[in-house]
């Protein structure tokens, strides 16, 4: 569904992604790990269309379309979803109205009628239960005054509502307590199907015990320097990144 070839991107004249390759097929779960500042969130931002990033080379195809040509909203409408590492607070915009607008604009793009109020409410109740999201939070302003963990759970609630084809979870586990981690992971597992895919960005093996990945990639200095199975995550947990960094720098020496 997604094919990234030699992707290069910069922000404020600083090269961040330096030739990144990744292919994702329906039904797969990919974990991306890597040291702080290696470019994980940048990759997510470039895919979602944040305009601070300038793509300087390479290509990204999403279901046969040139993803990089699409506006951020059209990427979402095509089925891409980014659960943000740092979700913003938007006072004055109600969480539920925001979701209703999002859902109906996505439906309109697909040529579907807007959901009537009753069906929307029913769906919202179902999904709240699925990800154990507090009904009180649903009616508040978007993330305003939410705790760190509540914001992350709101991202997963939105994910459950919008049912994207490809979801990128950027450190959704950080800031979650142990119970919440399990709930969020169970929610994601319940949403997994043969038709959708997940990219899970994380620093911790723990999450991958719950959401078991098919592939694990290490992103370092704007490139994927190693890919493997879930065993790689265990190895990283044990050894850190230094042994990999050395192998990257080796040819230069």
């Amino acid at each position: 569904m997604l094919s990234i070839k030699n992707l290069q991107a910069q922000v404020e004249d600083k090269q961040i992604l330096k030739g990144l390759n990744l292919t994702i097929n329906p039904g797969e779960v990919h974990a991306i790990m890597g040291p702080n500042g290696s470019g994980k969130s940048s990759l997510a931002s470039v895919l979602a269309g944040r305009d601070a990033y300038e793509v300087t080379g390479g290509e990204v195809e999403f279901y046969g379309k040139d993803l990089l040509e699409l506006s951020p909203e059209d990427r979402a409408r095509e089925g891409l979803f980014l659960a943000f590492q740092y979700p913003v607070e938007i006072p004055g915009v109600s969480n539920i109205n925001f979701l209703k607008t999002a859902m109906n604009e996505i439906r309109a793009y697909k040529g579907l009628e807007p959901l009537d109020a009753k069906s929307f409410l029913k769906l919202s109740k179902e999904k709240q239960q699925l990800v154990e999201f507090d009904a009180k939070l649903v009616n508040r302003c978007l993330n305003e005054g939410f705790s760190g963990g509540e914001k992350k759970r709101n991202e997963i609630f939105q994910l459950a509502m919008l049912e994207p084809r490809l979801a990128i979870l950027d450190e959704t586990d950080s800031g979650l307590d142990i119970d919440a981690l399990r709930i969020v992971a169970n929610g994601v597992n319940a949403l997994r199907s043969k038709d959708n895919a997940f990219v899970v960005i994380t620093h911790y093996q723990r999450l991958l015990d719950y959401i078991v990945p098919d592939f694990v990639h290490v992103l370092f200095d704007g490139k994927i320097i190693k890919s493997g199975t879930k065993v790689l995550a265990l190895e990283l947990e044990e050894k850190g990144y230094d042994w990999l960094k050395e192998s990257v720098h080796a040819p230069i020496v």
């Binding site: 909203e73 980014l82 004055g92 607008t101 999002a102």
Partner: protein, 436 residues
């Protein structure tokens, strides 16, 4: 030589005044007119050299040959003004004026509220007592000009200890193909313990070229309450200079909501509230949306003269295209006004590089035991918020509209009438520009 001399309207107005002198009128009113004319003649039309008009040039709008006083059309216009001003779903008592002239009411008002034209009520003791008692003309050339030369307008009185089951909707239609200079004068007296809601909508018929210089004096007696909404939504070739002067007695509550919407090329609101007694409460909410080349100028003064009064002012501005906003909010806390609570805030959102705002909150405190704060901000739509909304499939246009509505929320949520709140939110959404 003052530049006025080159304005034909200046001479026309002076000629009008000599004609007025020949008409029968109560001596008290006539005397106020004469005094006011002297005040006006001293300053003439203000120019940008006047501190209070630094950002707002009016003379460019006064160059035309205007119809004044007697020659202004006063007939009801052949346009469905209900449509122009209708607030969907809102049940209210409707009163209509055309170029300031009160029209016969279609449905009789309840007996506890009286609306008469100024001319009809000119012998009324209540009118004579309050007319010209609230407005201070010294540094207000337009108010002085209005006092000297007003024509038409209404006198609204609400009986003591009564209230109404629904708001009064005063639809002020402006209508003239040829340039007209219109100066209505209004007086609102809410007697002791009475409670009223007044919605004023200023609208215009297509192609109207009217310059309005209006003054409304509002008197709130003890324990009186007035929720006063002003909706300015006239068309592009209109200019509005609207002075609203309020006097509050003990335990009275005055709430003003001023919505200046896209349209009129020039809007200048002078809102002056005198807290003349103890234990009063005042809320001033404003929202201005400027588009095109509009200039929207809000000058306000809250004058705390007595102890134990609370005032709260919150103005929000959204400026697009090449629009200019001016906010000048004065809060005076006089020496006797101990235990004052005064709060003032002005926040602005600039949606275009060419839009400007001049914001000047002014707090002057002469008492020592008070709680006061004020602040002013200018910002743009947050890119982070825009991206967040768009990343969920929401179009750029809707995302902007959502954020602008959210910005205005602190003001719109204070609207005590749900239909009106909805109406204003729709207006906001409708005016958010398409993609740059």
């Amino acid at each position: 030589m003052t530049p006025q001399v080159t304005l034909p309207i200046y001479d026309d107005l002076l000629k009008d005044f000599s004609k007025l002198e020949m008409k029968a009128e109560h001596e008290q009113i006539r005397q106020k007119r004469r005094n006011a004319l002297e005040v006006f003649k001293r300053t003439g039309f203000p120019t940008r050299k006047h501190e209070d008009w630094k950002y707002t040039a009016v003379t460019p709008y006064l160059q035309a040959n205007f119809r004044t006083n007697g020659s202004v059309p006063i007939a009801p216009v052949a346009v469905d003004y209900l449509k122009l001003a209708a607030i969907p779903g809102l049940d209210c008592y409707r009163v209509v004026t055309v170029n300031g002239v009160l029209q016969p009411t279609e449905v009789a008002l309840p007996s506890n509220v009286k609306i008469r034209s100024m001319a009809e009520a000119q012998e009324d003791a209540g009118l004579l007592k309050h007319f010209g008692s609230v407005s201070v003309l010294d540094k207000a050339p337009f108010a002085a000009l209005n006092t000297a030369l007003f024509a038409h307008g209404f006198f609204l009185e609400m009986d003591a200890n009564t209230s109404l089951d629904k708001p009064i909707h005063l639809v002020q239609v402006l209508s003239s193909d040829a340039h007209a200079f219109v100066q209505p004068r209004n007086l609102v007296v809410i007697h002791a313990g009475a409670n009223a809601t007044l919605i004023e909508s200023v609208v215009s018929t297509p192609g109207t070229k009217v310059f309005v210089n209006s003054v409304t004096e509002v008197v709130l007696k003890e324990n009186a309450q007035l929720q006063h909404y002003v909706l300015q939504m006239a068309e592009k070739e209109t200019q509005l200079i609207q002075q609203n002067d309020v006097s509050q007695s003990m335990h009275s509550l005055y709430s003003n909501y001023t919505f200046s919407l896209p349209g009129s090329s020039l809007i200048r609101n002078n809102l002056n509230v005198a807290l003349d007694a103890q234990q009063t409460e005042t809320h001033l909410y404003g929202l201005y949306l400027g588009t095109g080349n509009q200039l929207i100028d809000n000058h306000s003064l809250v004058d705390h003269k007595m102890p134990h009064c609370n005032s709260n002012e919150m103005y929000k501005g959204v400026l697009m295209d090449r629009a200019t906003g001016v906010f000048n909010g004065k809060v005076f806390v006089q020496q006797d006004a101990q235990k004052t609570n005064a709060f003032q805030q002005n926040n602005n959102l600039l949606l275009s590089d060419e839009a400007t705002i001049n914001s000047k909150p002014q707090l002057e405190i002469f008492a020592d035991d008070v709680k006061c704060s004020h602040g002013s901000t200018v910002g743009q739509l947050s890119k982070e918020s825009m991206f967040y909304l768009q990343s969920r499939g929401i179009s750029e246009q809707s995302a902007r509209a959502m954020l602008v509505n959210a910005f205005a929320f602190d003001v719109t949520e204070k609207i005590g009438i749900p239909q009106l709140e909805k109406f204003i939110n729709h207006k906001i959404t409708a005016h958010i520009p398409a993609l740059n």
